[in-house]
């Protein structure tokens, strides 16, 4: 497995896999019983645990043709529900480095960004075409190119959307937000000194 995202992310390369369905929630991506841990290390094996058990080996994450994939192609409102970062952590530790879909739940999207995993969107028709292309040739190597941004494969190119702020953070390597937040420590102190509820509601 390639190392976890680090620094600037100009593109994500690798084979792709498809998980179809609307409103796939984070309880399905990682069931709550696996949240009983104080580190994320073991989550890769537990991704989609109950869905995989139910499908007895035919879940996309178990299919031989999709093993080693880096780009996950999904449908609408992927990652809804619980805020658990364990969901993108589990996907990342399985090997996923980018997700492409019709839409994403906001907290999931932010959690992916904090890990350096781009979430790119496209129209339902385009996503259906991409999913068809992945399934027709699961060995094909895809490239999510963040400069355009665009999803490229031997089968063709599809324009995708990544919000300008996150796109800039990923391309520049500033997606690990901690250091830039700490850069404004003085301004934070300014708010601590002026917000009414932190200052006994004194008139400013």
């Amino acid at each position: 497995m390639t190392s976890f995202p680090n620094g600037a992310i100009p593109q994500v390369n690798g084979t792709a896999l498809v998980v179809k369905g609307e409103d796939i929630d984070t309880d399905r991506i990682i069931p709550a019983r696996f949240l009983k841990c104080v580190s994320f290390d073991a989550l890769g094996d537990q991704v989609f645990a109950d869905d995989r058990k139910e499908l007895k080996g035919s879940h996309p994450f178990d299919q031989a043709r999709f093993q080693g994939a880096s780009i996950l192609v999904v449908n609408g409102n992927f990652g809804c529900g619980s805020s658990r970062e364990h969901a993108p952590q589990a996907l990342m530790r399985w090997g996923i480095r980018a997700v492409v879909g019709v839409s994403f739940a906001e907290i999931f999207y932010g959690n992916c960004l904090a890990l350096g995993i781009p979430c790119a969107t496209s129209t339902p028709d385009q996503i259906e075409a991409i999913q068809g292309a992945v399934e027709a040739d699961p060995a094909a190597v895809w490239c999510l190119d963040l400069s355009s941004p665009e999803l490229q494969s031997p089968a063709g190119q599809w324009p995708v959307t990544i919000e300008p702020g996150p796109l800039d953070m990923l391309r520049s390597g500033r997606w690990d937000a901690t250091s830039q937040l700490l850069d404004h420590s003085d301004q934070v102190q300014g708010l601590i000194d002026s917000l009414p509820y932190l200052n006994n509601f004194a008139a400013r």
């Binding site: 369905g21 609307e22 409103d23 929630d25 309880d27 399905r28 069931p31 709550a32 019983r33 949240l35 009983k36 104080v38 580190s39 994320f40 109950d50 869905d51 139910e54 409102n77 809804c80 529900g81 619980s82 805020s83 658990r84 970062e85 364990h86 952590q89 839409s103 739940a105 906001e106 907290i107 932010g110 959690n111 904090a114 919000e163 300008p164 702020g165 996150p166 796109l167 800039d168 953070m169 520049s172 500033r174 937000a177 901690t178 830039q180 937040l181 700490l182 404004h184 301004q187 934070v188 708010l191 601590i192 917000l195 009414p196 509820y197 932190l198 006994n200 509601f201 004194a202 008139a203």
Partner: protein
Amino acid sequence: MSSGTLYDKVWDLHRVAELPGGSTQLFVGLHLIHEVTSPQAFAALNDKGLTVRCPERTVATVDHIVPTTSQQRPFADPLAEEMLSTLERNCLENGIALNNIGSGRQGIVHVIAPELGLTQPGMTVACGDSHTSTHGAFGAIAFGIGTSQVRDVLASQSLAMNKLKVRRILVNGRLSEAVTAKDLILHVIRTLGVKGGVGHAYEFAGSAIEALSMEERMTLCNMAIEGGARCGYVNPDQVTFDYLEGRPHVPAGDAWKRAVRWWRSLASDADAVVDDEVVFDAAAITPTVTWGITPGQGLGIEESIPGLDALDPGDRPIAEEAYRYMDLQPGTPIAGVPVDVCFIGSCTNGRLSDLRAAAAVARGRQVADGIKAFVVPGSEQVAQAAEAEGLDQVFRTAGFEWREPGCSMCLAMNPDRLEGRQISASSSNRNFKGRQGSASGRTLLMSPAMVAAAAVHGRVTDVRTLPLHPAS
């Protein structure tokens, strides 16, 4: 673009800086932490050699993994014990107040912060838990975050955020007798869909909202996230101030007067501009129950499970999945569906007024044969208040188990869980596949009074058909 709303005002007050690329660095006024989503954040903080910026603005409790039968330490489950021990150590090392078991202040994070007066109008509130939207009931901007963001808030007391659009959910008229805030929010989600609110904050307004108590407003905002809205809020008013006055972290005397003046000024202006508005008629809402595997698959109690032809094409695949998973067929009336387990509790409906409403149904009745029914108060304070007015006895006499506070079977991270294909009537917030601890378990969401009605009949029951027995 919105302007003059509470959301705009609170956003502007907490803006630290504009970040390269267009995100905003937002100051976090209150950071709530618990045992599940914080350990990796503290570990990451240590790895980076950072310290907690504002330990006095960080408040901890333990809720998700606590057993509700015996809370003796060490817990029987070594993983649960390790999670609480880790939280205890992190709080001790970083000078963070922990509302631990037995302190009289422990409970579900979204129950205790309001009852301690920590949550106040005009704050930004963040917590590694999606139901942080609950705190919007006070006119705060409150949102769930992931663990990397918990780390960021610990380190900097701020977050990189993008501003949301504001949608006003205007609810006119009055809710009918026995129709609750839970029914209202299930109705809103059913109407606008589980992704309808993505990219939005929901401002709940209108005469039906103004008439709600604070605990009802918390139920409402709690489930904004189930409609896709990361936060929901109600403008602060006299109901808000009456709830807050006298609570531990709320100012007194002249500071109280100044606080109320400031809080009033934060409410959305009469001429505020919202991005859009959806109007509901409160009187048209009936007790609402989910039948499927998303909180948007709701039905009025008098309705039947919809056929595919009644649904939008986009909603059909998940409806088909729900028919299979729930083993419920189109045309089946939701009233009368048999249940196995009845759960009253959670950050949605585990407060004193919720327990009173359920007790009014349970009083003088018996849980039906073969039904497991249990009540989990949302906090130690709720438990104590309920016991002081004898609600625990009402429930016990009726055949319910009375438990210790915690998240319990809302997400089944403790020993409380469904077994096999069991189906629950649950006052919680999510009916996702496997949510309540069994990979094939099934959940019907409803109000606490409706859960009590289901418990005494062993099947989904319109609570309006049962005469109530409020405390004499």
